[in-house]
């Protein structure tokens, strides 16, 4: 397994796209953190200082650029391999496909977490330098696990969609399309089918974050993630490379 992980690390770091995408996740998070220092006002529309953890959390969770770029990082694991045919080199060197899947999964998780942590750290640095650190809001621990879970959700959805479809661009935009589709469905049908938000993955994630029926929300989110990843795994095992 160490050979596979080493190989995956070399594969990921040897293309510029990985570094460029990671840089732009961090840059966009810093930009959104800066915007966060300007955006909060009180009821009288007077600017107020928002809590640091809220700004940092929003710099990832409320940042559509980061969503697409994190999805892009997730889609790269298999997307580039299928797009350029190198999957055949990989599967010749490592004929056990389950190992290849788990190595790519692990590397995607690690990269998404490192990039997210770096983004939050960079955002914190900006707030520190500009004198905008403000106590209050959610705890640091809550902010950390929520941004991490959010980043992993989009990176792994993209990872799963790419294995399923072997389509790199679809892997990148798939999670964003899913979030738009969910909003549209809830907007159109939510009043008629009140249970709808309860069974959709990103709504469930949102409910989980705000502490609404945590066990059910976690279960729904987890089940969707499992279905996407398990389907991808099965297809990788069964299909021609």
């Amino acid at each position: 397994m160490m050979d596979l992980l080493t190989f995956e690390w070399r594969r990921a770091r040897s293309i510029r796209t990985t570094w460029i995408t990671s840089f732009f996740v961090i840059a966009s998070a810093v930009g959104f953190a800066y915007l966060g220092t300007l955006a909060f006002t009180d009821v009288a529309d007077v600017p107020v200082a928002a809590p640091t953890t809220t700004i940092l959390s929003d710099s990832i969770i409320g940042n559509p650029i980061a969503i697409v770029l994190l999805a892009s990082l997730g889609a790269m694991a298999f997307g580039h391999e299928y797009r350029y045919g190198t999957i055949r080199l990989t599967l010749t060197a490592f004929p056990r496909r389950a190992g290849v899947f788990f190595a790519k999964f692990t590397m995607t998780v690690v990269i998404a977490l490192v990039v997210t942590a770096s983004s939050v750290a960079a955002g914190y640095g900006l707030l520190l330098l500009t004198g905008n650190l403000t106590p209050g809001g959610q705890s640091w621990m809550t902010m950390a696990w929520q941004t991490a879970t959010f980043a992993l959700t989009f990176a792994l959805l993209a990872f799963g969609i790419t294995v399923l479809t072997r389509n790199h661009p679809l892997g990148i935009v798939g999670p964003l399309l899913l979030s738009i589709l969910e909003s549209a469905l809830i907007g159109l049908l939510g009043s008629r089918f009140e249970w709808l938000p309860d069974v959709l993955p990103l709504s469930a994630l949102q409910s989980w974050f705000i502490g609404e029926d945590v066990a059910r929300s976690m279960g729904v989110w987890g089940a969707w993630m499992l279905v996407v990843l398990a389907s991808g795994f099965v297809l990788l095992k069964r299909r021609d490379a």
Partner: protein
């Protein structure tokens, strides 16, 4: 290492691409893998490597590839000249694969030099020519110095000097006791390079024998005879060897199949017939291949309609 492919079978919808194909590739020799376009050669190679899913099994020294601890040390494959990321440099591409096989960094530089890729090693391969892509693919295959090389049309796009080098290299590689399986359309190259041939058509095995045996059993092995008294010579040979043994070679010759030059010369001598030419004609691999695959090809061109 002996590679044994047993009952390989693959269908695409209703089309049978590989039909219950079994053969063995032995070490110490270059085995040519021949067949017309669409005969299933590439699919067979992918089935052997486990890249395509189908029936049958390929054993590498008695074990499936997935059960070997380090597959890159077992087999190096080159299936396509474009299997690389366009923005990963040639050197990075090889270093990445070296990590898969625990190959030392120095070896990467060795294969870069061996393949004549020094000048482009740090360039991105998106602008590589077909020939340059083939060299990078070959470098990938030999990187871990595997026991078996599996190459699909490796000479496509190579210049004559590179083809000559490839031929010598593969023969040298096989002479080290390693196993080499090469598919190719370049029959003249195969004739020089291969010791053994596996011929398929429509996914079925047509021949699995030494190149010499394949060529020797071709019906185009015959004896060419020319004489000023051709009619008498034809009658004499037909009288002794049978009517079907003789075919006309205008303007003044006949071809005698199933006989040696000694036999034909002896017949002419006994009948007092002067000869102006007596030549043994040996079939080429191309002739033997065309004879063998004549009935098995779906996509023949140049037909009379």
């Amino acid at each position: 290492m002996i590679v044994t492919a047993s009952n390989l079978h693959k269908t695409y919808g209703r089309t049978v691409a590989v039909d219950d194909l079994s053969f063995q590739v032995r070490p110490g020799q270059v085995t040519g893998f021949l067949g017309p376009n669409g005969s299933g050669k590439s699919t067979t190679l992918r089935l052997m490597l486990g890249l395509d899913k189908g029936r049958g099994v390929t054993l590498w020294d008695g074990k499936p590839l997935a059960l070997h601890a380090h597959a890159p040390k077992v087999v190096g494959a080159h299936l396509d000249a474009k299997f690389f990321h366009p923005s990963r440099t040639a050197r990075s591409h090889l270093r990445m694969l070296a990590a898969a096989s625990r190959t030392r960094k120095k070896r990467v530089d060795e294969v870069i030099a061996l393949m004549g890729l020094e000048s482009v090693a740090n360039k991105r391969p998106k602008g590589f020519s077909l020939g340059m892509g083939q060299r990078l693919g070959l470098a990938t295959a030999i990187l871990a110095e595997p026991d078996v090389l599996l190459l699909d049309e490796p000479a496509n796009g190579l210049d004559p000097q590179s083809i000559h080098w490839l031929r010598d290299y593969l023969k040298y590689y096989a002479s080290q006791g390693r196993t080499v399986l090469v598919s190719s359309h370049l029959l003249s190259e195969m004739e020089i390079m291969a010791d053994h041939v596996v011929v398929i058509a429509k996914g079925r095995l047509l021949a699995d024998e030494s190149l010499v045996d394949l060529v020797n059993r071709s019906t185009t092995n015959d004896v060419l005879v020319r004489s000023a008294r051709l009619e008498e010579l034809t009658a004499a040979v037909r009288g002794e060897l049978g009517h079907d043994a003789v075919s006309e070679v205008p303007p003044d010759g006949i071809a005698v199949s199933g006989a040696t030059t000694d036999q034909v010369g002896d017949i002419a001598f006994r009948h007092g017939l002067p000869l102006s030419e007596l030549t043994k004609r040996t079939a080429s691999l191309e002739q033997a291949f065309l004879e063998l695959t004549d009935s098995g090809q779906d996509f023949r061109i140049g037909g009379t309609g």
